[in-house]
């Protein structure tokens, strides 16, 4: 699943980042890498952006960008929270 349909408020682990180098490096610099744990805080209505929390920071991602972040709820390391 991607950030577009991940469960709200539940820790999830980033499995893959798709998209071009520009988007990937931008996500990297905001602390979103493959293997990082994050959680979806809120999703704006009408296909609006997705608000996530990662390493104590909140980041807003447009739907298009959110679709490029594949996550998995089951792959979260025990004891790790976003």
């Amino acid at each position: 699943m991607t950030l577009e349909n991940a469960h709200l408020q539940q820790p999830a682990r980033v499995v893959e980042l798709t998209g071009g180098m520009g988007v990937r490096s931008h996500l990297n610099t905001l602390g979103i890498h493959v293997g990082d744990t994050l959680r979806v805080v809120e999703r704006a209505p009408f296909k609006g952006p997705v608000l996530i929390e990662v390493h104590g920071t909140r980041v807003a991602l447009g739907r298009g960008v959110a679709r490029k972040v594949t996550v998995d709820h089951d792959a979260v390391c025990p004891g790790r929270t976003a």
Partner: protein, 640 residues
């Protein structure tokens, strides 16, 4: 001695800079509020130093304008000491930039800033351990309260005098092997250069397009070697080389964080509760409307209360002056013009400008602007842009000049061009005073609100049209949402003053001089020439009095002049006695849309080029004439 402040966006560099240099760099609570670097001379610990505030960057790659600016400054100019400002509450992420700065091999000091916020989040940092890990001094600071800054600069000075260069960080074995290979190859070409071979090697492995174009490989043909190193890295990890290096750096940074920081219980307070409501799918939108409309009414209410007595006082002054210097004479006309200029500034512009600027400063400092970007992302998408464009657009309500510059936070050139065009249409604070003082004051606040709504509709339609015509959609919104913050009164005052000084120092003398010039023109009856020349527009098309022509010309210099000149040209501050409701609205609509002022034209030409500036200006005139003529027609048809 030159100190360079470098750090991630919103880490508090500009706040520290302002603390030593006086309020010069605009600060705000959103990432990317500084898009250019600011330099100031300051006396620090008795020595004259130059302090440079670089724009905030998340990393030292060259993928956006701010990063290119910071990177080229660090590579091309001599920084005696880099002061790396870190947001202590985001240690791991901030360290990723710190590691890259260490790669530059310059004397460096780390300011562990906002450590009060870290404490609030339950984060405890052992700064001695951190200093040991990084190999540079670490000083805890709270920039907003000036805490720790003395120690910080003392350490910076010591670092400068000893000239101690830190060791670059070490990454995982495969990365190190690739770096060593490429480093060996580029070393020769870099002799005598400030750029360390290791730094260039890493940039080349990352495939940084800006560095490759700017520095190349130092003039040494190493292409075979570089490609081999890259393909080895990619084979070993299964990801692209840029991801491998960024991942390795990420691991080192978070490894350090895990060692030096302990995470306790975060204090959950009003910020979290407020954010729940402000960003909630159901309440976020309505609250935004309430906040903005509330802002509008507060400014209007306050301004009106201040304006009325001030205007009356100046009218009495003009009357008593007229007794000493008869109005018909040359001296009388000029003097009267100057009094009008002063009173226009004090009595009409300032009452609305001051509360407006304070309100905007509050919106900026609390961190509400990026939240608006989140809420409006959707709407902006319908238009073919994305939420980040909201930030420059909102700043446009203050002044078009910084707003046009703020479009640099947008990644794609297409979005920058469109957003620049739209920011010019946003009524700046000067045009806001026209809306408030002409339409609001005489016809009521609802009419003024209607002008704003009309303006928003025009911006929406124009945005959609432009976005539909220009290719190259941006990937979408990626924006950090900073924590909400209570604005500090001192900072609000300093910020309001920074904008207000612009009015007092530049606009006001211009107002008074222009008023005197208009006085002379009137005395010589030369204003008629201008008015007659413009009468096809003003009288025939828009149905305004012939005297308004000259006010529109002065408005090109500064938009505030339109209002003051109108008062003078009509000979009374009680404009409604001379103009009908239709004329008040038509005039305001025209002023809100037509031609950017000279300062805006200059900054647009610099940012997007003369060609774009020319067509944007042409569009403003077409829109202004069309809408103002339509307003007149509408009033005529409805018989209002």
């Amino acid at each position: 001695m030159r100190f360079v402040l470098a750090g991630q966006p919103n880490s508090g560099k500009s706040t520290i800079f302002n603390a030593v240099a006086g309020y010069r760099a605009a600060t705000a609570n959103f990432p990317g509020s500084s898009v250019v670097y600011t330099v100031s001379r300051a006396l620090i610990l008795g020595r004259e130093t130059e302090v440079v505030d670089l724009p905030g960057v998340y990393s030292l790659t060259s993928t956006d304008a701010a990063e290119r600016e910071a990177l080229s400054y660090l590579l091309e100019r001599d920084a005696d000491v880099i002061i790396n400002v870190i947001d202590a509450s985001r240690l791991g992420r901030s360290l990723e930039l710190t590691l890259q700065l260490l790669e530059l091999g310059r004397p460096m000091v780390v300011a562990l800033n906002m450590h009060d916020e870290a404490t609030r989040k339950g984060i405890e940092i052992d700064e001695t351990a951190l200093a040991e890990k990084l190999g540079v001094p670490v000083v805890p600071t709270i920039g907003r309260r000036g805490q720790g800054l003395r120690t910080l600069f003392r350490e910076a000075m010591r670092a400068c005098l000893t000239g101690l260069r830190p060791d670059p960080p070490r990454y995982d074995n495969e990365v190190e092997k690739a770096v060593a290979d490429v480093e060996l190859a580029v070393r020769e070409g870099l002799e005598g250069s400030r750029v360390p071979a290791r730094f260039l090697a890493i940039k080349l492995l990352e495939g940084d397009p800006g560095v490759a174009a700017g520095l190349g490989t130092g003039g040494v043909p190493i292409n075979g070697r570089l490609e081999r190193a890259i393909s080895d890295l990619e084979k070993a990890h299964g990801w692209s080389s840029d991801q491998v290096i960024s991942g390795s750096r990420h691991a080192v940074a978070h490894g350090i964080e895990d060692r030096v920081a302990t995470l306790g219980r975060a204090h959950v307070g009003w910020r979290e509760a407020a954010d729940r409501l402000l960003l909630h799918p159901l309440t976020g939108g309505p609250l935004m409307v309430i906040i903005l409309v509330g802002f509008f009414y507060a400014v209007f209410g306050l301004g009106k209360h201040l304006e009325t007595p001030l205007v009356a006082a100046f009218a009495r002054l003009a009357e008593s002056l007229a007794r000493f210097v008869p109005p018909g004479t040359f001296a009388g006309t000029v003097l009267n013009g100057m009094v009008m200029g002063v009173s226009g500034g004090v009595a009409i512009v300032l009452p609305y400008l001051v509360p407006f600027l304070i309100g905007l400063a509050v919106l900026e400092d609390t961190g509400y602007l990026p939240r608006m970007a989140y809420i409006l992302d959707n709407v902006m998408h319908r238009m073919g842009l994305h939420g980040k464009s909201v930030v420059p657009l909102m700043l446009g309500y203050g002044c078009s000049v910084p707003a046009v510059m703020a479009t640099r936070i947008l990644e794609s050139p297409r979005d920058r061009r469109i957003t620049t065009a739209l920011t010019v249409f946003v009524p700046c604070s000067a045009r806001t005073t026209v809306i408030y003082a002409v339409v609001g004051a005489f016809l009521g606040p609802l009419w003024a609100l209607a002008v704003y709504v009309l303006n928003l509709v025009v911006i929406g339609v124009l945005g959609a049209v432009l976005a539909g015509r220009m290719k190259g959609r941006a990937p979408g919104l990626i924006l950090e949402i900073p924590d909400l913050r209570l604005p500090a009164v001192g900072n609000l005052a300093a910020k309001t003053w920074l904008s207000l000084r612009e009015f007092v120092v530049i606009a006001w003398p211009l107002l008074i001089a222009s008023s005197a010039v208009l006085g002379v023109l009137e005395w010589a009856h030369a204003d008629r020439l201008l008015n007659v020349a413009l009468s096809p527009l003003t009288v025939v098309l828009l149905g305004l009095p012939v005297a308004t022509g000259v006010t529109l010309v002065f408005g090109l210099l500064r938009k505030e002049l339109t209002l003051v000149m109108l008062v003078q040209a009509l000979g009374t501050a009680n404009i409604a006695a001379v103009l009908t409701a239709a004329q008040l609205v038509t005039f305001t609509v025209f002023v809100v849309f037509y031609m950017p002022c000279v300062a805006t034209i200059a900054v647009m030409a610099r940012e997007v080029g003369w060609k774009d500036t020319a067509w944007i200006s042409a569009v403003t005139v077409v829109v202004a004439v069309t809408l103002a003529a339509a307003t007149r027609l509408l009033f005529a048809l409805t018989g209002a």
